[in-house]
Symmetry: none
Subunit: 222 residues, 2 copies
Amino acid sequence: MLVVEDDVTVREVVVSYLRAAGHDVSEAPDGAAGLELMQRSPADLVVLDLMMPGIDGLEVCRRLRSGGDVPIVMLTALGGEQDRVVGLELGADDYVTKPFSPRELVLRVDSILRRTGRTSEEPALLTDGDLVVDAARHEAVLRGVVLPLTGREFDLLRHLVAHPGRAFSRDDLLREVWGWTVGDQSTVTVHVRRLREKVEADPTSPVRLVTVWGVGYRWETA
Amino acid sequence: MLVVEDDVTVREVVVSYLRAAGHDVSEAPDGAAGLELMQRSPADLVVLDLMMPGIDGLEVCRRLRSGGDVPIVMLTALGGEQDRVVGLELGADDYVTKPFSPRELVLRVDSILRRTGRTSEEPALLTDGDLVVDAARHEAVLRGVVLPLTGREFDLLRHLVAHPGRAFSRDDLLREVWGWTVGDQSTVTVHVRRLREKVEADPTSPVRLVTVWGVGYRWETA
DNA sequence: CCGCGCCGTCACGGCTTCGTAAGGGTTCGA
DNA sequence: TCGAACCCTTACGAAGCCGTGACGGCGCGG
């Protein structure tokens, strides 16, 4: 994923948020650099500022379009109705008007990746022994029985099973599952407990959703 | 398929997207050229800009209508409520207001082709146990009885049955069935309810058109 | 011209799920 | 062994989500 934005502050914020969301992000300070980067190593999506010195966003958009059909998210100035029109006509897949919340941008980006199916993220089907986590169906099956998970529980389980053996801090999980940057850690604690209730044979002594003392939690492969 | 649009940039983007979607596309820079092309080799669908120099979209639309029943998709300017009304009155099958994303336009075009049965895309016959969805006849049969579905209900059912087991969000369905990019999610909710009324043995506890809490809906294979 | 059917919207009520707080238990290091 | 940090458990209010019924607009056919 490539972020092309001249304002250093904005760029850094955007990039850090996208990285926190689990994306592999490269960045460019202007249109020329962006185009060059895209030629060397094509990205799966481009976040593009409209107003930039040198080659502006529109021109970059046009050239990217002529070279392929990579999805493009435009960053446009507030009230730039005209910009927005031109941008979309040129093939931007979505636009976000400044000022925007980074969180919103991440949402849009994820949505487009999902929509265009070019996300190289986790496979739709995760398995771990007698457990199957099916992202497409939004359903988890344990020993042939469908687990009655709530939305959050499912998200949490999927994330853990997708990275077996790795220990996550509560803050990690808040950021990567909840999408929060601030929040009460006990939220995670409680959800882990509820999840254990449904996933563990004996919830009082977990063997798969293990707690890592002083750190957080880890999914243990069966 | 024919695209009539005076703005070179917009035309190129639209054409390239339609071609990428597997359509055979010819193009014309103005109304006169468009009409002439249609006479020489009639297209199965016309994408038509409303505002054009010379013979404008409305006039082209009128003349096309008098010469046959080719489906027409209008491109109208932002806020052109009046244009939209006039366009539809003249027999456009759908309209897309600028700004639009090229992907959205492709969706609309495909939707219309499917609706008017002028395309041989997805399999015409879907089956799921005692249910048969016949796209060609635009008819669904359950246990040998034809379901009295409305247009939207049929579209919705076909889309769900075509992707059994997959959970769709309301936004997904608005985009993929309605062809909208924005819209009230409750629209989907209500249509699902009405569809259940006709498809489920006990609509109060659905077993085939299942709701996925916090996400959307899913079609459960029989 | 009128009636009918389809569609999109809205408001309401019930229910699920969520986040937080508080208290008790457990683990670790000294 | 003891204290402190950390974790588990429980309960509860609030918010969010879904289903339902009803209404008005619009197009279509009688």
